[in-house]
Symmetry: D2
Subunit: 210 residues, 4 copies
């Protein structure tokens, strides 16, 4: 029964909506996926990672990427995105205060709650830190935790919890392997966002998460 | 271009596939979403929560729920699921050893790696614990972390990180509010899984995550 | 051999230092333990918890407690403390941005690194949040993680990871049980700090952590 | 007043207890600090790290180190230790099931609760994992969380949260830098344990944590 309704709806939208495939192609707006890459960077490392993340996301056709420092992001930019990837340097085993302030702003300035305006957007994280096992995991996990609290849908990519780079020690700065992981995160997020987004475009039915 | 192909495919499957809606309804296999609810329970509290989670998931039409103790789950059951919701009592701020052994089995017995056989399945968690702020969050977060490492797509529901219940103190056992959160988690996971699954059924194109 | 040296040292300080017990009592400076309770509070809940933590610490004789909002704390106040207890409301499963900025300041303004100026001080945490299992644990854990990165010595108290209060729901605001946990945290930190501090006063030998 | 009693006690034990330094040296039992290094190892990496941790602890005079696989440790061995350092390989972003089972045994077999028999013992952690940012931090943090729940006193060493090694990638197995970190953890734990332990030996007064 549910499936029946859904099929009808699909046909309503796609087949009966126009007389020809060409018309059909022209009628609906070109689908896009909007990925917002938000970062804070003092030394430039996290910015460089952010650019690689953006590059990865952009490599998926139809994906529009907005790359912004966290303090420049408006409520409109945030809520217009289909996916959000946040990157931070590690300060004391956690995201930078600037990035934390960005998340807090969602509540205090952007009015994300109680409507859960970020609900069902895709979320992911990346981090740079001076030391191995020096807080990059916790930094990514706490950013994902903030996203889960917003009812976002969370993925990893380029690593177990997201993409990360160790910027001191044997391999100072960012090496190609670390940038490749950042690009992989961008690709992963864009792909999962497409999986979700197209579904929304194709059919609106009772299963849609309320 | 991509969109064009996709539309054709949609029409191929749904509209041109048959002459009538009845036929159309009959033609493709009935879509289902399979949710596996895995739990460990000693006192029965987590089992009770698991049943409420299962009930919530089942309330979404077309959702088939399999409720199993972690030690009874086979590789086939695990890999056949579209979504996995794992529940554990809190033992020392973390999932029970039995639940940890279940995750470890994925690697050592089920051969999940290196193909990432759980990739793109939906994952979520719930927990029961004697005390408030006594480890339920960490228990859920560590289960979600295990899922992220498997490239699963992770959601919360019924709470910031999943559904949880405090089984001692002022309100011993499980109260209706806690069971309602467990049901909400089941609903949430089934809905997000539908979002992803239908997309797969409707269109297979170059955006599919490889 | 080591013990021999140590005993001699002890005798040097305590027995040979004066001719009588009265003199001995008068000679060394009265020992004190200094506990800094640092908090951020918007609604007043965390401030109220902080006052109960301070009260608990003060109940241990010889303990001097300094209660300050995070943004009012100077480097001198921080480094003069023997113990630090930090409290934060939960914003998105983590400490408030203001509290994160306080920790970041240690590095950027107070010059704690690379000497690890907080090394061997006792550290603990407390948190207030609207929901159960809504981030209080992660908030405390991430504050303790920041302390561990500073080579502080970390304890819980009043709960598995520190004292916490749920400020919404069935029991809005802070109830007596929650304030009792806050006081227990203060007592616990003062006691452990005495354990460490008196040892330092009594003997300085080769075992002292360098 | 408290200080007065304490000084008298010190003199009673150390100065008035004997007529000469030699006698004094002979009289009290030789002080020792007992460090238990507990590990699980499948490939041998974590065992090798454990041996380096033990070596570090042993380098502090008077420190007796017991190195044991987790499944071989008895309640007596556990409770007789002044400090416990636990090491685990990373399985899915968390300690191995075998290590989790060890912690769970404290409750179910060793009867640690409700007396909190591990209270005030020093605790620390180390981890080995195949990937960078692949779970070593979470593995250490969750072991420290289990210790905090037991009212242990927790330290880092050899890294922000403990000592860790990345066993795959550019530098397979354990390199000298990683083993040096493991030794540093052992040194750190032995030193902090001495700080606490000597204090207990020197004076028993009202400040002792109950």
């Amino acid at each position: 029964m549910v499936f029946f309704t859904r099929c009808c709806l699909l046909i309503g939208v796609f087949a009966f909506g126009g007389g020809s495939v060409e018309h059909l192609h022209a009628a609906p707006p070109e689908p896009v996926v909007r990925v917002l890459v938000a970062y804070h960077s003092l030394t430039g490392h996290t910015h460089k990672m952010a650019k690689a993340v953006a590059e990865g996301a952009r490599s998926i056709p139809g994906t529009i990427v907005n790359l912004q420092p966290v303090n420049a992001i408006s409520a409109e930019q945030l809520f217009a995105s289909d996916a959000l990837i946040v990157g931070s340097p590690v300060y004391w085993g956690n995201m930078a205060g600037e990035v934390k302030a960005f998340f807090d702003k969602w509540q205090f300035q952007f009015g994300v709650f109680p409507e859960f305006k970020m609900r069902n957007k895709i979320g992911a994280a990346f981090a740079t830190g001076g030391q191995r096992a020096g807080g990059k995991e916790l930094t990514m996990i706490t950013m994902l935790a903030a996203m889960l609290g917003n009812q976002m849908i969370v993925v990893s990519g380029g690593g177990a919890f997201g993409a990360s780079a160790t910027t001191e020690g044997d391999s100072p700065g960012l090496d190609e392997q670390e940038l490749a992981r950042a690009r992989a995160l961008g690709v992963r997020v864009a792909e999962v966002t497409w999986l979700m987004k197209q579904r929304h475009m194709v059919s609106k039915d009772s299963h849609t998460t309320k």
